[in-house]
């Protein structure tokens, strides 16, 4: 049996009551996946990322969503007033979710329910941006599509509290796979903050294949945080697809700390004047972790704006990939597109492959891009040492500072703090950098 067949074998039996469109779409996904199979490094898009660990794996599907409540509360972000939707290995957990206080005009629900209750609206949107031909993984996702989060904002609706979607990964006896979908439909002039948070048990070794689609109507504003803190054995493939109309704003924070093998695709289409997108990225990998970030901004219309800043910190024998494309269509005049990628190598054996690409067919544009990869500033290391700080600590402080530039853009304090602490915590414990972070915060608050 081929690898695709082995994966598709796991497709669950479906009820005949389901709408026919979803059945047809799943079939199309399965057919596509079976035809193309897993990507190999011969594919340009997968040149630096070997997915054999996924393709050769054997993953079941989770059958329940049990997760220890105390452990969940201890690990989650301290967002007590967030609207929360929780999935465990892809299964919806009503017990851990919390959706009481949503304002009028906002709906947050699991995909399974949305398909049942509002098939028509969902059917028109699901898979519109993430086609089965985008990658073998979107095809695979489509074949299995049955669960995830659907967030809908009626025109003019502002959701003040963050919408917090948690995807937990358990240490199962047998590794499982999940193919959650995120669908965000933001009506005209609506506004919300959405968090996707991936974490779980330290021994978890599952495969998560998530597809996020974000549709922004005129003037809508979405802040999207992806905080990926999966276990160091988890395999994680994700794509985020964004469609922006006039004057809409999308702010992405793609923060990756966990996972053995991680691939993120981020694609935004700026389809009408005034659309603006910001990509902020940070990853920190150690050991033999592998993180691949592929980003794409399509400037399809005049006077659209994009600004991208991705930073990577790589230690030990970790491997990072940054491929950032900006594409400017022929008539997309007076656009502005800025892209920056900076990487910090903490070890001689760490490796980064970085490739910023600008493809411009318009002539009246403001674009810049740059990529730097380097070690820590030795003059700064010396400066810290002259104040009594030992060399390893000096390097730790400078590493934290390198991440800080991206974290300063983070508007949600709990996330900034969490990531700063995680970065600090990965540096040797005796430095007690977490304590420093706390002190700095305390001083600020006084």
């Amino acid at each position: 049996m081929s690898a695709p067949q082995r994966f598709l074998e796991r497709l669950p039996a479906r009820s005949s009551d389901e709408p026919s469109w979803i059945a047809a779409r799943r079939q199309a996904g399965a057919a596509r996946f079976e035809a193309v199979g897993f990507p190999t490094r011969r594919d340009e898009e997968w040149k630096y990322t070997d997915v054999r660990r996924i393709a050769e794996g054997d993953f079941g599907l989770a059958i329940h969503a049990d997760y220890d409540r105390a452990r969940f509360d201890e690990q989650r972000l301290a967002l007590d007033d967030a609207h929360r939707l929780v999935f465990v290995d892809g299964r919806f957990s009503a017990e851990l979710s919390e959706l009481d206080s949503l304002p009028n005009g906002a709906s947050v629900e699991p995909l399974s329910r949305a398909i049942d209750q509002d098939a028509e609206a969902i059917g028109g949107a699901l898979g519109r941006l993430a086609g089965v031909d985008f990658s073998p993984f979107t095809a695979l996702s489509t074949a299995f599509a049955d669960e995830g989060a659907v967030i809908r904002l009626a025109p003019g609706t502002a959701v003040e509290k963050p919408i917090y979607v948690v995807m937990l990964s358990r240490a199962n006896d047998v590794p499982v796979m999940s193919h959650p979908r995120m669908l965000i439909m933001a009506g005209a002039n609506s506004e919300a903050t959405v968090i996707e948070h991936y974490y779980g048990e330290a021994e978890a070794a599952n495969f998560t294949n998530v597809v996020t689609e974000v549709l922004l109507d005129r003037g809508a504003i979405i802040d999207h945080y992806k905080l990926q803190e999966a276990s160091l054995n988890d395999l994680h493939v994700a794509s985020i697809h964004v469609d922006q109309t006039r004057d809409s704003r999308f702010n992405s924070f793609n923060l990756n700390l966990g996972g053995a093998l991680v691939r993120n695709d981020l694609v935004a289409d700026l389809n009408a004047e005034g659309a603006e997108t910001t990509y902020n990225g940070l990853f920190f990998v150690q050991g033999r972790q592998h993180v691949d970030n592929h980003t794409l901004v399509n400037h399809n219309a005049p006077r659209t704006f994009s600004n991208e800043n991705y930073k990577g910190i790589l230690d030990d024998r970790a491997h990072g990939v940054f491929n950032g494309k900006v594409y400017v269509k022929r008539d997309a005049q007076q656009i502005e597109a800025y892209q920056n990628n900076a990487n910090l190598l903490l070890s001689d054996r760490a490796e980064i492959d970085t490739k910023p690409e600008l493809v411009i067919y318009a002539d009246d544009v403001k674009c810049s891009h740059g990529a730097t990869t380097g070690q820590l500033d030795e003059e700064a290391v010396y400066g810290l040492r002259t104040r009594g700080i030992d060399e390893a600590m000096a390097r730790a402080l400078l590493t934290l500072a390198f991440a800080g530039e991206v974290m300063e853009q983070v508007k949600l304090h709990v996330i900034a703090e969490r990531v700063e602490r995680a970065v600090a915590g990965r540096l040797p414990e005796r430095f007690n950098l977490a304590d420093l972070v706390e002190t700095a915060e305390a001083v600020q608050e006084v």
Binding site: D377, R385, T386, R387, A401, L436, A442
Partner: protein, 250 residues
């Protein structure tokens, strides 16, 4: 406290210090003056352990310890702190991180525990106020985007928080207007006490109007050519350095 004996230092093979002797005792303020190129900054850089300086002969003892055998950070922890002529920018590292990490490193070296957070916050706020620095400076990256005067004040702030035994200040007055100079001088003067020594390296006498030295040394061609009390500085101010240079050549 500090004993420099027959110190010879070369930079890229070129002799800069050629047998320098200097003794600084606790409670004293010494000023090292001299024409450009005499080796003034080399002396403090060598004591602080900057790269690129080769000691070919001589010794530096600090409280009986061989400074040249100590790591850069060990020197600072032992209480030997240099305020730079051109303070180093430390990208992204908040001032408050540096201050706390440095203070705790010194405390650990003395066998003390980490400073409790409330005590630390009180200390840094007090000292920032003394240096007329807004508390927002504590959240900013060390010297990044600071004006020349702010950088110098920040160097003194570090001294006030870390309370070194020997504070060496290299051209701390350069680039300061008169108001900033007063703030810096006040900060330095507040460090004066019977257990501490201060070593000022300066080209101009004007700093010494604000920080009165006990001893003034003139460095000429890698050696101390003349030493005296504060009146020597005034004499240099009116007569320039040439006469000392000629005297030492004779």
């Amino acid at each position: 406290m500090l004993e420099v004996k027959n110190l010879h230092v070369t930079v890229e093979g070129k002799p800069i210090l050629k047998g320098l002797d200097l003794t600084v005792n606790a409670g004293e303020v010494h000023a090292i003056m001299g024409p450009n190129g005499a080796g003034k900054s080399t002396l403090s850089a060598v004591i602080a352990g900057k790269d690129g300086y080769e000691v070919t002969e001589g010794s530096i003892l600090f409280e009986g310890q061989d400074v040249l055998e100590m790591e850069i950070e060990e020197r600072a922890r032992a209480g030997l702190l240099l305020g730079f002529q051109y303070p180093i920018e430390i990208p992204g590292v908040k001032n408050i991180y540096l201050l706390k990490a440095a203070l705790n490193a010194a405390r650990a070296a003395r066998g003390e525990g980490e400073i409790p957070a409330p005590e630390f916050m009180k200390l840094v706020r007090e000292k920032s106020a003394e240096m007329k620095m807004d508390p927002s400076f504590l959240q900013r990256a060390v010297n990044e985007g600071f004006s020349g005067g702010e950088k110098k004040r920040n160097e003194i702030l570090q001294m006030l928080v870390l309370q070194p035994k020997l504070a060496m200040l290299d051209e701390i007055d350069s680039g300061l207007d008169i108001d900033a100079m007063k703030v810096v001088a006040q900060g330095v003067n507040s460090l004066r006490n019977a257990d501490r020594a201060i070593l000022l390296v300066t080209h101009y006498q004007r700093l010494l109007n604000h920080i009165e030295p006990d001893r003034v040394h003139v460095l000429v061609d890698g050696r101390i050519a003349k030493s005296g009390d504060k009146s020597l500085a005034l004499e240099l101010e009116s007569r320039g350095y040439d006469w000392v240079v000629e005297e030492s050549a004779a």
